[in-house]
Amino acid sequence: MTSSTGTSTGTEPRTKHEIAAAIAHDIVEANPGGAYVNLGIGQPTLVADHLPEGSGVVLHTENGMLNMGPAARGGDVDPDLTNAGKIPVTELPGASYFHHADSFAMMRGGHLDVCVLGAFQVSERGDLANWHTGAPDAIPAVGGAMDLAIGAKRVWVMMTLLDKAGRPKLVPECTYPVTGVACIDRVYTDLGTFAITPDGVRVLEAHGRTEEELAELLAPVRLV
């Protein structure tokens, strides 16, 4: 499977919309017969905007719905119909509603094809950290993050490669408290797309950096 929207390696960093488009492309390519997908709160929700008509992608929201439609506007807003980010959404034909235990059973049982999540850090073996900064005075709050981390056949991360201080977020070992262990198999970032493999991290694409620059940036992460 080739990655991204037709292009291979770009000379510019990707915008969040370009990352979202690349993920949407890869979901469709990996699942030509359609897919059941959960898009995490925040940037991953942008992926929905890039799914082509007729892709057969069905969106799950963990607060109890399959076949969720776009955000609701104006008179379509119904306080009883929200996504997991508590934003009013709409219902597509073929939708179904179910309670929280059934919804999380669906995730935890491995029935979703793809889940896309944001992250603070991903380790080279695919550990995810996205729920807690580890700050001693932070109030812990996990929501569905730990269920989502292990809640699909493939769990992908969408993030910037560097944090605000310029430090890589793809790391040898997570320094933030982990959300799930060895659960991520692909990482989409502004500077490159990475596959987590048993042998190490493989650069699928580079954007605005050469592969050599990425290797230097991410060292000591093993790139293979």
């Binding site: 306080p79 119909l81 509603y97 935890r108 005075d137 932070a138 109030i139 996990v142 569905g144 730990m146």
Partner: protein, 227 residues
Amino acid sequence: MTATICGSYDEALADTPDGATVLVGGFGMAGMPVELIDALIRQGATDLTVVSNNAGNGDTGLAALLVAGRVRKVVCSFPRQSDSYVFDELYRAGRIELEVVPQGNLAERMRAAGAGIGAFFSPTGVGTPLAEGKETRRIDGRDYVLEYPIKGDLALIKAHLADRMGNLVYRKTARNFGPVMATAAATVVAQVERVVPTGDLDPEAVVTPSIYVDRVVPAAHPEEASA
């Protein structure tokens, strides 16, 4: 005991004892039994353990119950929100206990309580700080953490319609925790938009069978209760 249709929220909660564990439905405002929480504040029970997905927003509902000093401990998945300042302050002041539970474990632990399961090996949380001190086991090549049931003395939930027997249907994603909490508490109180005659709900579409429901309080037409 088949369900009682109550004339008021206050009547439905009159016997709530201090120290009760109260399961509170809702995900954000969808499915939140706001009027029942208000009645619980008026009723006065204290030293409560509240099990709910969040720990209150703004100054109303759960947050008001917290402000009133009635809650000893919160069990939830996501206490920290943009407007959870009431909980935040109490927590930082050491005036409230917190047990953070991954949302899927929260739902499944209540489901276990309702289903008579003694404990279960969960795939969620393995290797994380939330599994620290818990029993783990590798089964068929995958690691799991042992989780125990969460049982309530009281569940407060919001549904769309009830029939007079107590069968419930919900509306869209407001269904969320309602059906599972209804199975997990000794006394289950549901606030609903309307009570319809028994036989008006499609038996194939009932989500919470009447066996789980003890008291129903209709919102739109409380006078129905005496009908």
